[in-house]
């Protein structure tokens, strides 16, 4: 394997690890607010790493810019969606989970 291939492989693998962690957080975290943290942060980094890894394999400038755009649009969507879901949860008076109260 050449150096760019190895770099690409490592980045893709690291990206997958963060997606896995995000999903684990979604399942394990105690309430809607903490789950939103898990999704937004882990997916941002996971997708960022996967896009970086794919940039090594991109055939040209157009494809590279397209990949970067995918990341930006996904970021904007996930940040906005988290805010809207969190706001709705608060308007419905869903109390945030506090450590020590339910353990």
């Amino acid at each position: 394997m050449s150096l760019p291939e190895i770099a690409s492989f490592i980045l893709l693998l690291a990206g997958a690890v963060f997606f896995f962690a995000g999903t684990l957080g979604l399942l394990r975290f105690p309430d809607v607010y903490t789950r939103l943290h898990a999704l937004a942060k882990a997916d941002n980094l996971g997708l960022g790493l996967i896009v970086l890894g794919l940039l090594f394999k991109a055939p040209g400038a157009a494809m590279s810019i397209k990949l970067a755009l995918v990341w930006l649009l996904a970021l904007a969507a996930s940040a906005t969606a988290s805010f809207l879901i969190a706001r709705r949860a608060r308007q419905h008076s869903i109390a945030p989970w506090r450590s020590g109260e339910h353990e």
Binding site: L24, H37, A42, K66, S99
Partner: protein, 165 residues
């Protein structure tokens, strides 16, 4: 306040941007430009209608610094949340915080709210007037410091004046 830039400049900039976007989406194929030129014209018109040109201008050194900061913080945020998710005991200590924003109303605040959602340990929950309700993953970490930092970077990028807290 600076005077509004002429409409011509906004049209030129946005057309160039949409031309680039079409080129990216069509993988540089020349035969797509019959549809492409129409789409670019429509997109430019629509963008002028939805978001009229303003006096604010982006500072490129500021943007570069903001992006660097954002990339490193994303790394920190992703690692932190992954660590919480994979530990046997999550050890989460979430809390709600209320913070008065210093950025003026408008695009700056929108960007700040979105940025905070991607930064380590903070989640924007509600904005009422200038008061931001924030959910934090670790109550021992100063959420205010994170917000102030993000505000400073965004203010420099968008050339905005920060209001007193």
């Amino acid at each position: 306040m600076k005077p509004a830039p002429p409409l011509v400049w906004a049209v030129i900039w946005r057309t160039a941007l949409f031309v680039l976007l079409w080129w990216v989406l069509s993988d540089g194929r020349l035969d797509s430009w019959t549809v492409g030129s129409g789409s670019v014209a429509l997109a430019t018109l629509l963008s002028l209608r939805l978001s009229p040109p303003t006096r604010g201008r982006v500072s490129f050194p500021g943007l570069l610094r903001f992006l660097t900061y954002f990339v490193f913080q994303s790394l920190r945020g992703g690692i932190q949340v992954a660590w919480f998710a994979m530990r046997p005991q999550t050890g989460l200590r979430p809390a709600m915080r209320e913070i008065d924003l210093r950025l003026p109303e408008g695009i700056g605040r929108v960007l700040l709210i979105n940025t905070l959602n991607l930064l380590p340990g903070t989640l924007s929950v509600e904005l009422q007037g200038r008061q931001l309700c924030l959910h934090v993953l670790d109550e021992h970490v100063s959420a205010e410091a994170e917000v102030r930092m993000a505000e400073t970077f965004l203010a420099r990028t968008l050339r905005l004046e920060l209001e007193p807290a």
